[in-house]
């Protein structure tokens, strides 16, 4: 039982950044713009977000508030950074993969360059606060659920769940959501009923920038003690989660939980008798999340439904 609690707790903090960033990708792709730049946007958001955290921590501001400020700053930086992608792919009709790749190269390069040139030799930005919440009075004492959801957790997990709810609500229950989905499926039809395609796509890409920037900070604070110009490929993994989740919020929650669970199992294999009994080398356990994802995708993927117009440049003249 103790083991199951531990696995679930670890799963929650592995899945949170994936969930948030994949939801970001969802907004962009649902509006019809491929956003392969999620990795770069995460790096950029984490860079400034963690820098701000390292500046304000230890002062009069309480720890959890420092975290929330850092996450929001990361989000804003991501939003600003994603304007480059939006401008290139929406206004200038650039190839979306190329523009995204440019952002992916740009972000770590600038982060290292600026960190090393201006903040003194090292490329690392360290922070000291441990943001993990050990326990909450009353809530942790709820039988079973209290230990799963309110022991050894990050507040960001709940931020992620709230973002999930909002995303689902916006996409499926509001006019804006309908317009976003229309732009991704059939922009010409959407245009013909007076929807401003460019505006909607800007909203999609900038939202994805905001969420990816947040996700960058969330990833760093739960995965390490410093930012070193990398988010370990989580932006690309989030794209995988987005596709795995078939471009739907609920399924993205499931996909990120699945990937988080597999990663946790792989990392904790020594404590799980069933896995340890296999007697494999460490590296083979570490492959589990990636191979498991491919197997599940192979079983599900026949029904894969990408937004129809995703990646297609919108040209008013072309009919």
């Amino acid at each position: 039982m103790e083991l199951i609690y531990n696995i679930l707790q670890a799963t929650f903090f592995t899945m949170t950044p994936l969930l948030v960033v994949a939801l970001g990708g969802l907004f962009s792709e649902r509006s019809g713009v491929v956003n392969i730049a999620l990795e770069g946007i995460m790096v950029m958001g984490a860079f400034i977000g963690i820098f701000v955290i390292s500046m304000i921590e230890g002062g009069s501001i309480p720890g959890q508030l420092v975290l929330i400020i850092g996450v929001i700053v990361g989000g804003l930086v991501g939003l600003i950074f994603s304007v480059f992608h939006a401008f290139a792919s929406i206004n200038l009709k650039a190839d979306q993969t190329i523009s995204g790749t440019a952002l992916n190269i740009f972000a770590p390069a600038v982060a290292i360059f600026v960190a090393r040139s201006m903040l003194g030799g090292s490329k690392e930005i360290k922070f000291l606060t441990v943001f993990r919440i050990k326990r909450v009075p009353f809530l942790t004492d709820i039988p079973i659920l209290g230990r799963i959801f309110f022991e050894d957790f990050y507040i960001t997990f709940y931020v992620g769940l709230i973002i999930l709810l909002i995303s689902w609500f916006v996409l499926y229950k509001t006019r804006l959501g309908l317009r976003i989905r229309a732009c991704g499926e059939n922009p010409h039809a959407a245009d013909s009923v007076g929807i401003n395609i460019y505006k909607i796509r800007y909203i999609g890409v900038l939202t994805s920038g905001f969420l990816a920037g947040m996700g960058g900070v969330i990833f760093i604070i739960s995965a390490s003690q410093a930012f070193a110009a990398s988010v370990s490929g989580y932006g690309f993994l989030a794209i995988a989660v987005l596709i795995f989740g078939n471009w739907q919020p609920k399924k993205i929650l499931f996909a990120s939980f699945f990937f988080g669970l597999m990663t946790t199992l792989a990392a904790m294999y020594t404590e799980i008798p069933l896995l340890k009994g296999l007697g494999l080398s460490e590296e083979f356990y570490n492959m589990i999340p990636y191979i498991a994802t491919l197997v599940v995708l192979a079983l599900l993927s026949k029904s894969s439904k990408a937004p129809k117009a995703v990646g297609v440049i919108y040209d008013k003249g072309a009919r």
Binding site: A94, T101, A102, F106, P108, S117, F236, A240, E283
Partner: protein
Amino acid sequence: MENKRENSALRSYGQKVLSRFKEFRVSSTMDKIKASVISALGGILVGLIIMMLINFQGVIDFIITLASGKFKFDPNTYIIGSIVQSAPILIAGLSVAFAFRTGLFNIGASGQILVGGITAIYIGHLISLPGPLHFLVALIGAIIAGSIWGGITGTLKAYFNINEVVTSIMLNYVAAHLVKFLSRQKLVFDLFRSQTKMLPKSATIPTLGLDRLFPHSGFDISIFIAILTAILVFIILEKTTLGYQLKAVGYNPLGAKTNGIKYRRNIILSMLIAGALSGLAGGIIYLSGANATQIRVQINIPGEGFDGISVALLATNSPIGVIFSAIFINFITQFGSLVEGASTFKKEISDVIIAVIIYFSALSSITLYYLNVRKRKRLKHNSELNKEGDE
């Protein structure tokens, strides 16, 4: 009346198609080259501006240091070295470009490089053969291994409809873990350095004495292999039926299917070839005696695979263009270390410049548009003249 209108509609449609066709012809190879060169210059300019914004005095000091000759500029390292050491990213660029041309985004070149590299290293240690033959066998092993790794991506796409981007990202990680495991096996493991052992000389890339002719340049025959490969890829893509079919599948999968081109076979074949190219790049990287690259025992996704994406994009996926863009991007990288050696700036400025160049090359359609404004005007003028003639 009705008929007439239809006719004129038809005719204007025909003119539209024709003008489209002309526009298409307008963006010739020359224009693509122009667009790439403009992107490159723009990137360098923006990089310079960023350097000036961060530390204006630093830029001036840097120029003075270079001009005064205080900094020892070794042409063998910075010029010859940049050219001859661009072989790995050149071939990786070919792999990415080939996949792009057939409608696939091979973001998994890194994994294919790793798998190819470790195979080459194993062959290097496992068997003993004389001189260049040993090297050739190891290189062929790398090609086959990379090809299989790419083929997995192709098969999963062809038969299970899994997006190749996801598969190749996942396979990059699988390769990283697999290669970490393989590189710490007794046969190849150098315990003290925690990396793979030095290869026997017979398995390394022949240098033909070029490394002694140009000291510190790391000159071996890999650059010649790379250029020959580029020509080979060009021939496959542009001069063979196979290349035509592969491109057709990439351009319009449904259309290709209806025209009897085997969709599944071609997807798999494309990825087999792209994987083989990346595997070759892996062989070149890890069989290099001059640069003595070993695989470190750690989770490592080699950057050459991602550099390959930049190389391919800057070359607008033209195999011949890849030769120049690879050398150019390697120049920029070398410029980074020159900057770090001769000024207070850090070498990562080169990556900033490369990123800006790629961003600009994404905008190449706009660049081409402005390049062609004059030609367009002339075309329009001509067609108007024709119209007048009609009436």
